[in-house]
Subunit: 505 residues, 2 copies
């Protein structure tokens, strides 16, 4: 599962925990819309075999971070390649990356139709703490609607939605309505260490119109959701230097600038009392929220009181004029991630510190660019810093925001497919965080990204007793079939950059 | 030597290094004013013997911080007690303190005359680095006008100014013009660990009108100086709490208050662009500088450019309307001594920190009170803190400022004595720091303190090759004799509190 954030190791609360309990439906109203009769019959006939395959996949302990499981990762890759071949995918290969292999394959005979890249990953998280599992993590069990095992949701379950979907299409129609390229990596849970280099090296081969990433969750219960926006990020450090060494605050106090005070005045000037970021030009490229955007966010079931309680903060605050969910997903932010300078021990040390430092990250939204934003921050900080200190603003990294609008043809195709198969319109989620894999597809291949995931919001990904809802799983296979049909007639879904080149850096 | 500062271990540059080299006279113009003819003859006759005693004292390695020298400390105390007795001081005792002993004695037969406490210390600093000494630290040598040895200046040399001064008076007149109580401690270089308790326990016995502390330096060359002001101190910590735990800045950024940002806004609001402290009421009790004060500070030889270079800061700044020396010694300050919160490592961690902290000290001037100032700071911080965080302001300690005005009768008596013996008027120094021993005498005994010291500003106290200027030493003995005569007719020099009780806490 893609966990938003520049630092993937940072664990965040799951989505579901943001919701008040009473908002979590327990009844499961899935309604499968009739597909082609023959295709639906095929899916019904193969249901047990499909579940068996899925459980077999879950039995392979492909933990990518643990060296002793390297062989299991390769076994999972080869097992998956065999399933793609069985499904009718062509040019299936287990490609070397320097780390765990990437499984690829394609089907490119839908002349004139769009080409989509399907991304997922076959590696899984470690299983600690083992004693909290109700059943062994690599011995999958089916309890009612649940398949419980490590990887049941993240992400083997979602990979095993795409494979039977394409298999059923090829088996019943002999063809696909769109062109597909599969990219299933084996290092998503260990920072996708080799993915970017592999994408770079294979950019020409990977020309496509859209990337479909199936590694996200629903927002609430079993109501379908599409993640349309991810925030980008700009990371910086501000270093303020004053005296050459720490000075005695009695002997020198009152005569030289205190770098911590200077830093405080700089940081305090970065945001106004209205929560607006004061860096000149900061909002210049921010794409305004449309009424459609705002309406879709208002529709999200969201309990502010429960969210506030979850944070443990005294109050929810932020940029004036925007709702909490808008501020969280659709507006840029500036946060101080850390600060230090001078004495931090018990008691008192009577010094004027020689220097002070702060870490800053901005979350960016379309169409902000991290390097542009950094430059504006740097200029502003240099401008407001008192001349009695030296200030240095360093760029620590950045990532572009991602936004595939609600009315993008690929988003609309996905929404139609979800509505027809799940029986209700999807929610549209703007994630506050940054999903590096999405940025990789956007930046390296220049593709719009549709984040189309199907796991329950409380799927326990990365935690004990991870599970997938089996009814959602079956419905999702129908969704994917329908999605390819919808995408085939969706009109212009091409990437912004026709050359398929990187839009960033 | 008293090193200003709440943390005595903090080493600060010596005074002399604040001065441009061209301001340091090399010629030595000392001029000894004729005293009583008989007394001066006595001093001349005993000169060699006096020097011999002084050198004997310096040979005792009474390093108070090193346990292996505990016996030497006691030997120095007993040696000193013998000298006091020889001089005619009465009730001489080596008093137990729980640490190194305190040497006491008195002469109280000047009926109707003021009573002064004379403070000094017989312990010395360690001698590292030994290889930088030109001669062994406890084998004193006389080179021209210099006596070089550990303790030659700090503070054995100054103790051995007072003892022969009183000896000469008693030897030639049979009496003293004032009543004196001697308090020579043995732990000044190890934080005076037992002094306060001993003063408390002996408060009744130690009734007096003024305390004379001889443990400071001249400001420049061999021009005499009186330290008339020491700043007090108020130490506090500000703790700001936001979310219950560090939150992911992508998932939560823009919706909750960032405690580091809140702390920065609080700190930035503590001082204005004019350098004035914005805490309401902060300056209420500040005694305004008189024209005499300002004139005396203007007279101090002070090279701003050299001072700036010494600090290593880009500029000298501070409260508008006051000179650098005024801001440093005669105006209160607010400094942030340290700050911390969130991530301080390399790279980036995308968090909203749960909490942030700052250490603050204010240097206070007469008649500010640390507890009053703390209360005003606390109320102000609580007032300006955004309601979206919790803020806690803690008192970490305080010390009263000390100011014995230039026109205080005891100061004037000292100034007359210095002018007559050194041939030029003294400079008046306001130290930016806080000398704990002075505060002890002020606070516990309720006495005005006159800081009357005679060592050269570049005496290398605490460093290798510590020295005393022998001509200043001899002149200083005459100064002390003259001072007691002047003090006897100085008028009302009594403490503020006639009961001799503590003015603080």
């Amino acid at each position: 599962m893609n966990r938003p954030g520049i630092a993937r190791s940072w664990s965040r609360p799951d989505h579901h925990s943001l919701l008040a309990p009473d908002l979590r439906p327990t009844a499961y109203p899935a309604r499968v819309i009739a597909l082609d009769r023959e295709l639906e019959e095929h899916l019904e006939l193969t249901r047990d075999a499909r579940l068996g395959r899925y459980l077999d996949f879950l039995r392979i302990p492909s933990i990518s971070t643990l060296p002793e499981h390297a062989g299991d990762c390769r076994a999972a890759a080869e097992w998956l390649a065999a399933r793609l071949t069985e499904a009718g995918v062509e040019h299936v290969a287990v490609e070397e990356t320097g780390g765990h292999p990437i499984v690829t394959g394609d089907w490119l005979h839908a002349e004139g139709a769009p080409t989509a890249i399907v991304y997922g990953h076959y590696d899984v998280q470690p299983v600690d703490p083992l004693d909290l599992w109700e059943s062994p993590p690599f011995e999958p069990i089916v309890k009612g609607d649940r398949v419980q095992a490590r990887g049941a949701a993240d992400d083997k379950g979602q990979v095993m939605i795409h494979v039977p979907a394409v298999g059923a299409l090829i088996a019943t129609r002999g063809s696909l309505p769109v062109n597909l390229r599969f990219v299933f990596e084996g290092e998503e849970e260990s920072s996708s260490a080799h993915l970017d280099a592999w994408l770079e090296a294979n950019r020409e081969r990977l020309r496509a119109d859209v990337a479909i990433i199936s590694d996200t969750s629903f927002f609430d219960g079993n109501r379908p959701a599409i993640t349309i926006g991810l925030r980008g990020i700009m990371a910086a450090q501000v270093d303020v230097a004053g005296p050459a060494v720490d000075l005695h605050s009695g002997t020198y106090g009152g005569t030289v600038e205190n770098p911590v005070f200077a830093l405080a005045t700089i940081l305090a000037a970065l945001k106004g009392p209205d929560g607006r970021i004061r860096v000149p030009g900061f909002y210049n490229e921010v794409r305004a929220l449309t009424e459609l955007d705002r309406e879709s966010m208002r529709k999200l079931p969201f309990d502010e009181a429960a969210y506030l309680e979850l944070t443990g903060s005294p109050a929810l605050v932020g940029e004036a004029g925007f709702s909490t969910l808008e501020r969280r997903g659709a507006r840029p932010t500036l946060e101080i991630n850390g600060i230090w300078g001078g004495f931090q021990g018990d008691g008192t040390k009577t010094i004027i510190p020689a220097h002070a430092h702060a870490k800053i990250t901005c979350r960016l939204v379309a169409d902000q660019n991290p390097e542009t934003i950094f430059e504006r921050l740097r200029l502003y900080v240099e401008d407001i810093a008192p001349p009695s200190v030296l200030v240095d603003v360093k760029f620590l990294g950045g990532g572009l925001p991602s936004l595939t609008p609600i009315d993008h043809p690929a988003t609309r195709a996905a929404a139609r497919a979800l509505t027809e198969t799940f029986g209700q319109e999807p929610l549209y989620i703007r994630e506050g965080g940054t999903i590096p894999v999405a940025a990789s597809f956007e930046q390296i291949l220049g593709l719009p990204v549709v984040l189309l995931g199907f796991t329950p919001p409380d799927d326990h990904a990365h935690a004990p007793n991870e599970y997938m809802n089996l009814r959602n799983y079956e419905t999702a296979i129908r969704t994917i079939v329908r999605f390819w049909d919808e995408l085939a007639v969706a009109g212009d879904i091409g990437s912004d950059d026709e050359a398929g080149g990187p839009r960033y850096p």
